[in-house]
């Protein structure tokens, strides 16, 4: 350009300059025009591109001004809502919402606009032509100098939604079908169970009639088959309940230790006469009470422990309970069930917890079972946030593990053993089985007693004598009845015969009641069934130690007076009952009746005495029988006083003369647990003791 201007210069300076300016100006305008055209073209192209995209895109596009009016809507938008251009500019999308969604979505939209937020929703609309559609509306604010606007898209998702709904429906139907099947299975199992119980029950009755040997044999077979079928049905019922998620877990307090011993009692008969020692060991840190489902917890342990005798011919079966982990509110219990049986091959150990799997296909024939038991155990354990697994050495035995998280109990378990009575007492433990000695030693050491262990009966009497001579006599001697060299009876006879002031003798027996009378004759003071329950043992030692020598003599005499009163019944002496009754005849009757059954009875003549006797030693009592009408302080007031003092655990059973309906309510309102009406019936009294003392301990 400059070169051309220079070339025109010779035409005279002033005119030349003017022309130059003009030319410059023209050139400028031309450039501007050119630029503007270019820009316009670009704009047009851009707009064209935008329009093309906007009009062909499968999304509805809209723009809304600051005042809420629609500034732009594309063709697809109009199609979705079934409206024309004019309508699209005079209405807003949310006006087309279906009634069900209207309130909710409009509100959300208003909120988003007010807060200048992004907005995204799936909703249903009705187009102007009445067509229902699912749409996805997405919109976000655009900020500029002119203020805020909203641009957004509307996508027709009707098809997708419909497919989704169909899928969901299909899934629900499938689940429903599966549930119905499991439900059917559960119902069936339940329905089969009822007649099966009839079959087994009547087989029992049949066995009580006069049958010849062949008939007895056949009947036993019917019974065994019935029981096998019933347990199979129970397993299937449990399994289907787990599948349908119907298995409910209770949350109640229970004593894991008692539960463990109960399971041992249950399993012991399965060992029969085989030379197997059943050991139960509870670590001291296992809480006295935990909160969970005792039934399910017990089920797993029963199953695992119940398997052990099936596969063990001799040696040991052990159940131990310990704490694996602990938090502020929860505790993870670890149960270990070990045996010295045939063991499980390594390649089978992982599959035995699968449903319908057993270590050996022939196992079912030889050992029975459904193959569901372990699978149920594992699932139950998992539902308690724990696990179940096994370790084994073929030929050497198996160890099954079961863990479960349980809540810690809020209520404190009353410990009945007065610690002072046991402290520093010397105990001689005589048992040939090392495992048993270890457990017994553990129990008594934890109770602060001083144990000495002996592995045979021969040396027992001598050891007791030596200790006496050294002026550190034994207070208690625990003697296993079944020792190879010299059995417990012989030990007891020798000790009682040869030793002046012998220690208290407690028999430990793995057999049942029939040993009791023999124990009594041999001079034992107490009798405990194996596996030894820690609490029962300590309770018995404490009670026996607590008795003064006169009492001991007295007890020995009473025992002789009633020959049917066996040593095993002495277990009941650990149950102490407080009787509040003013009538002398009734007092005596109750003492006789309960005493005869082996219970300890303490009598209070009125409510005041009852409260005093109880508060003096609350841990000594297991149950209170409370006459309602008494002088000084009646039963109602005494109960209220005890409850107010915080003694909420002790069961109180009212004895009322009135058979009136209101009496029951009055008793329960006053804080009593139950009531019996006078005249007192023996069976009712014992039922109450069973209900409030024994069942309470068991559950």
């Amino acid at each position: 350009m400059m070169t051309r201007e220079k070339a025109q210069e010779p035409a005279g300076m002033s005119s030349k300059k003017t022309i130059m300016d003009l030319l410059k100006r023209i050139k400028q305008i031309e450039t501007e025009q050119e630029n503007s055209q270019k820009a316009q073209k670009a704009l047009k192209e851009s707009e064209e591109r935008f329009r093309l995209i906007s009009e062909t895109i499968n999304f509805g596009v809209f723009e809304i001004g600051a005042d809420g009016s629609c500034l732009y809507a594309n063709t697809r938008y109009q199609q979705i809502f079934g409206i024309n251009l004019a309508q699209s500019l005079t209405t807003q999308w949310h006006e087309y919402l279906q009634d069900d969604d209207k309130a909710r979505v409009s509100e959300a939209w208003r909120t988003a606009i007010n807060a200048m937020e992004e907005f995204s929703v799936d909703c249903r609309i009705v187009s102007r032509s009445g067509k229902q559609r699912w749409v996805h509306v997405h919109s976000s604010p655009v900020f500029s100098d002119e203020g805020a606007r909203y641009t957004g898209t509307v996508e027709d998702i009707t098809h997708r939604k419909r497919t989704e709904q169909e899928l969901k429906k299909a899934k629900e139907e499938a689940e429903l079908g599966s549930r119905a099947k499991s439900q059917f299975l559960a119902n069936m199992s339940h329905e089969i169970r009822t007649p099966m119980n009839g079959v087994i029950g009547f087989t029992d009755l049949l066995l009580e009639t006069e049958l010849d040997e062949v008939q007895i044999d056949y009947t036993h077979t019917i019974k065994r088959s019935g029981e096998a079928l019933l347990s199979l049905i129970n397993d299937i019922l449990d399994f289907s309940k787990i599948e349908t998620g119907e298995l409910e877990f209770e949350q109640i307090d229970f004593d894991p230790e008692l539960l463990a011993y109960d399971v041992c009692d249950l399993v012991r008969p399965k060992i029969g006469s085989r030379p197997i020692e059943l050991l139960c060991s509870i670590q001291a840190d296992v809480p006295a009470l935990v909160k969970g489902d005792p039934l399910r917890f017990r089920q797993v342990i029963t199953n695992l422990l119940g398997n052990a005798p099936k596969f063990t011919e001799k040696g040991e079966i052990g159940l131990s309970l310990s704490v694996e982990e602990e938090t502020e509110t929860r505790v993870k219990l670890h149960a270990t069930i070990s045996d010295t049986g045939i063991g499980i091959p390594p390649d089978k150990i992982s599959v035995i917890f699968e449903p319908f799997q057993q270590a050996d296909g022939s196992t079912t024939r030889k050992y029975g079972g459904t193959g569901l038991g372990l699978s149920i155990c594992k699932q139950l354990a998992n539902m308690m946030n724990g696990n179940a697994w096994a370790e084994s050495r073929e030929g050497a035995g198996s160890t099954f593990h079961f863990t479960a998280w349980l809540d810690k109990s809020e209520s404190e378990m009353p410990t009945r053993v007065a610690p002072g009575v046991l402290e520093n007492k010397r105990v001689l433990l005589v048992d040939d089985h090392a495992g048993n000695r270890k457990i017994l030693k553990h129990i008594v050491t934890n109770a602060k007693m001083t144990p000495t262990c002996l592995d045979n009966g021969r040396e027992a009497a001598a050891a007791i004598n030596v200790a006496r001579g050294e002026n550190r006599p034994y207070d208690v001697c625990l003697v296993d009845l079944g020792m190879p060299d010299m059995d417990g009876y012989a030990v007891a006879r020798e000790v009682k015969k040869d030793i002046e002031k012998p220690p208290l003798l407690i028999a430990l027996s793995s057999a049942l009641e029939r040993d009791a009378q023999k124990c009594e004759a041999a001079g034992f003071d107490g009798f405990i069934a194996k596996p030894v329950r820690r609490k029962k043992l300590l309770q018995m030692i404490a009670r026996l130690l607590g008795e003064d020598p006169g009492n001991r003599l007295e007890r020995a005499k009473t025992r002789k007076m009633h020959t049917q009163y066996s040593v095993r019944e002495a277990m009941k002496q650990s149950v102490q009952i407080l009787l509040a009754e003013d009538n002398l005849v009734n007092q005596k009757l109750a003492v006789m009746m309960l005493g005869k059954a082996g219970y300890n009875v303490i009598v209070a003549a009125n409510g005041k005495e009852a409260v005093a006797a109880f508060t003096e030693n609350p841990k000594a009592y297991d149950l209170i029988f409370m006459d309602v009408q008494m002088p000084e302080m009646d039963g109602k007031a005494a109960t209220q006083t005890l409850r107010r003092l915080g003694f909420c655990e002790i069961p109180i059973v009212a004895m009322t003369a009135h058979a009136m309906k209101g009496d029951r309510e009055m008793c329960l309102e006053a804080g009593m647990n139950d009531y019996i009406t006078k005249p007192i019936k023996r069976e009712t009294v014992f039922d109450m003791i069973k209900k409030y003392v024994f069942q309470k301990e068991e559950s």
Binding site: H562, D582, N583, L584, V585, N586, K588, L589, M592, M593, K596, A597, Q629, A657, K678, P679, I680, R682
Partner: protein, 105 residues
């Protein structure tokens, strides 16, 4: 009176039951005297209390006739119908005597 049966009902030996009956005669006589005394003084409250005691003890021992009469006395006294009591108190006395005779010949 079938002592064997009564004792068995309570799950007791016959000797034990006899002991209870002796105690019942002892305490019952005292209660009976209290009733007679209270009847003379028209003390319905005391009659009720003593009759209640006899009723309870007799009931528990299985002496249902005695218990019934004592119950009737307790109820009449509760309703303050003392004049109706004389006959019942007499019956009670007869019953006590009968038991005493039975026991001691």
């Amino acid at each position: 009176m079938n002592l064997t049966q009564l004792a068995e009902n309570l799950g007791l030996e016959i000797d034990e039951y006899k002991e209870l009956i002796e105690l019942f005669i002892d305490t019952g006589s005292t209660d009976f005297l209290k009733i007679q005394d209270a009847l003379a003084k028209s003390d319905a409250e005391q009659i009720m209390r003593s009759a209640h005691t006899i009723k309870g003890a007799a009931g528990n021992l299985g002496l249902l006739d005695v218990s019934e009469v004592a119950k009737a006395i307790e109820e009449s006294a509760g309703a303050n119908q003392l004049e109706a009591l004389t006959q019942a108190v007499h019956t009670l006395k007869t019953q006590f005597d009968a038991i005493d005779t039975f026991m001691h010949g």
